[in-house]
Amino acid sequence: MMIQVKLIANYREQLPPEAINGVVELDVPDGTTVYQAISRFDIPLDDTSVIVLNGLTVDMSTPLSVGDMVTAFSAIAGG
């Protein structure tokens, strides 16, 4: 199934060249979780990253649905 991953700011360096505006489309197996999708990228998977599903705070073991967007950014002092 097709999902999207969006990386923000310095995390964008981890995206493949086909990404547009920080977003890449991925074909993943059914049952893929948020954690599994984001693990494809070389970003820290600890408290120093914020990872949300469709903009919502969820457990990393949440399975994805078609068209979902997983977004990640570095947790650092904000605006």
């Binding site: 969006k6 923000i8 700011a9 310095n10 964008r12 360096e13 505006n21 920080g22 408290d47 990253s49 914020v50 949300v52 469709n54 903009g55 919502l56 705070t57 977004t71 950014f73 570095s74 947790a75 650092i76 002092a77 904000g78 605006g79």
Partner: protein, 608 residues
């Protein structure tokens, strides 16, 4: 005494008399410095009911015990006064270089009283203290003023001043320092203008002696190493400043768009940090001794918006940009430059224009009154409004009063997204419930800098909280409010303190700040003691607010009754009723938000 000079410079602008005073060491300790000292003096010395633009208002510049020390980012000052925008307390913070130079004069605080009969500026070089004519500076913008004053005093001096907006008493006027940095919010620049005080010029070599210089140096080196390691990993801050945030808040559906009619902006990619980095960024420009370096020099090299300066930061992008529906980055950058030159708070400026745009589109204000069409997204009209506002010309007379008075004048107060008449910053609280409680209860009106729980609800520092829930938010808001009072009193920048001292363990921040302040002052604070001092400061500010007659803790109509129409927080309003009673109980305040006698006694505060 170490860390603090324990010296106040008092300037009576009416009589032109300048005096020096010592600070009682017990007051120094109990109120920490900076914001804490300032509210102690303000509460003691002025009638909170006084007109904010009258000579009875008192304007205070205050540094903290870590300002002008090697503490990382120990380079902040506070401007504290009564706000003409809110009628409540104003406390606005700024960095750059001026704060350290101010403290090197040998004084911790400058207190301005009365009103000069003609424009003046204050020059302080240690014992050489003079009020000088500023007649030749009146009408000049903040950048011209800074250049002229450095040329006629010393290249070694640093300048804080107002631009035309402050002279003209526009209620969003800021006090600019080092040209591009601002004590921005609540109209503090208008208070300075009302006193005919154009600028303050500071220089000197009186660094405060430190209790433990070696310990302070070691701590500074270690923290800088920690920050340096983070920067090496690719710190967002040095590359983007805060301009990467629109992508974050847009993802969460809390990016103020078209005067909070929406929570997402379809053109966000046009005006985000990457667009800025790729098109206009020249280099990062740190405040004095800052290892984080979030400031950035930018330039629009050609075209109608040609210019060079600093910014925009997130709060400018979310107000003059998405707030106004503007997607032209060059125009947005130019608008930021103009605000810096005229000396204006970009949040209130942008959100007042946004409110006017909504009122124009709904037919509440005509093109004849405005002088031109004012649709969302019209970046040229947005720039034109900034100029009218700074000079109070034509429709600018209405705009210069801020969005609350504007919306009220034209019969639609529900359009204004304010608390205590101050415009919201860049987090829609319908999708960030803790921010809703913060805006509602903030002693200075809507402000993220009163206790920015977005760090947890949005940015995951130190942990990511669910922004859509209300559980635990009263405790979170109280903790952040007290923590910000502590940081603002210390002289440290919240960015470095938040990033490197906030922890799941709530006592790490006071532990580290107490450690730094002890190295500076030798006061032997315990972590518990500095948090109590911060709570003392916060409660005294509350008492000022109550005596100023502004007590209702609520939110504007849109936040309580108009659900967000889009994004992840679609359908949400702020559930203030669920949070407010618990917040009051945690604070030790009664059901109307007034500190109880018991709470005041516990904190050693005056009972009347």
């Amino acid at each position: 005494m170490y860390g603090w000079h324990l010296k106040v410079l008092r300037v009576n602008l009416t009589t032109q008399k300048i005096t020096q005073e010592d600070v009682d060491p017990k007051i120094a300790r109990d109120y920490l410095g900076g914001r804490g000292w300032a509210i102690h003096y303000l509460y003691k010395e002025m009638d909170p009911m006084a007109d904010a633009l009258s000579p009875e208002n008192v304007l205070i510049f205050a540094t903290g015990p870590l300002t002008a020390t090697p503490a990382p980012t120990g380079n902040r000052y506070m401007v504290v006064t009564k706000s003409p925008l809110t009628g409540a307390l104003a406390h606005s913070n700024s960095g750059g270089e001026f704060p350290t130079w101010m403290k090197r004069t040998g004084f911790d605080m400058f207190i301005f009283e009365g009103k000069s009969s003609k424009p003046v500026y204050l020059f302080v070089n240690e014992d050489q203290i003079e009020l000088r004519s500023a007649v030749h500076l009146w009408g000049k913008d903040a950048h011209e003023t800074t250049d002229i004053l450095k040329a006629e005093t010393s290249a070694e001096a640093r300048v804080a001043c107002i631009g035309q907006a402050g002279e003209n008493l526009a209620l969003m006027a800021a006090i600019m320092n080092d040209k591009h940095r601002a004590a921005a919010r609540s109209g503090v620049g208008a208070v300075m203008g009302s006193k005919n005080l154009k600028a303050v010029v500071a220089m000197g070599n009186k660094n405060p002696p430190l209790h433990d210089p070696e310990g302070m140096r070691t701590l500074s080196v270690n923290t800088s190493k920690e920050v340096g390691a983070d920067v090496k990993k690719g710190s967002n801050m040095r590359i983007y400043g805060t301009s990467y945030v629109p992508q974050v808040t847009n993802t969460l559906g809390i990016l103020p768009t078209r005067n909070f009619l929406q929570g997402t902006f379809e053109h966000v990619n046009n005006i985000d940090g990457d667009a800025l980095k790729n098109q206009y960024l020249i280099r990062h420009t740190p405040c004095y001794r800052c290892p984080l370096s979030c400031g950035r020099l930018t330039e629009v090299p050609d075209g109608p918006y040609k210019g060079k300066g600093e910014g925009p930061e997130y709060e400018t992008i979310s107000s003059l940009g998405t707030g106004c529906g503007v997607s032209n980055l060059a125009a947005l950058v130019k608008a930021n430059y103009l605000c810096n030159e005229y000396g204006m708070d970009t949040i209130t400026t942008g959100m007042t224009i946004a409110a006017a745009m909504e009122m124009y589109e709904k037919g509440y204000i005509s093109e004849e009154i405005i002088g031109m069409p004012l649709k969302f997204g019209d970046h040229d009209a947005m720039i034109a409004m900034i100029k009218l506002m700074a000079f109070r010309e034509g429709f600018g007379e209405d705009l210069a009063q801020g969005s609350y008075r504007l919306a009220e004048k034209y019969g639609h107060p529900e359009i204004a997204v304010t608390t205590r008449k101050q415009e919201f910053p860049g987090y829609d609280p319908r999708g960030s419930q803790g921010m809703g409680l913060l805006y509602a209860t903030s002693n200075k009106g809507a402000s993220h800098m009163e206790g920015d729980v977005a760090y947890e609800e949005v940015f995951g520092v130190p942990v990511k909280e669910n922004p859509l829930t209300t559980e635990g938010k009263p405790e979170l808001v109280k903790h952040f409010e007290d923590s910000f009072a502590l940081m603002d009193s210390s002289g440290l920048c919240v960015f470095v303190a938040i990033r490197y001292a906030f922890n799941k363990d709530r006592m790490i921040l006071p532990l580290r700040l107490a450690e730094m302040m002890n190295l500076s002052t030798g006061a032997q604070y315990s972590p518990e003691e500095v948090m109590i001092a911060a709570e003392r400061v916060y409660n005294l500010e509350r008492m000022f607010l109550i005596k100023a007659g502004s007590t209702e803790d609520t939110l504007p109509y849109r936040m309580l009754h108009e659900p967000l129409p889009d994004g992840p927080a679609k359908g949400k309003v702020v559930e203030l009723d669920k949070m407010l009673p618990e917040f009051y109980a945690l604070r030790g305040w009664d059901e109307k938000g007034v500190p109880t006698k018991q709470k005041l006694m516990e904190l050693g505060l005056p009972l009347n």
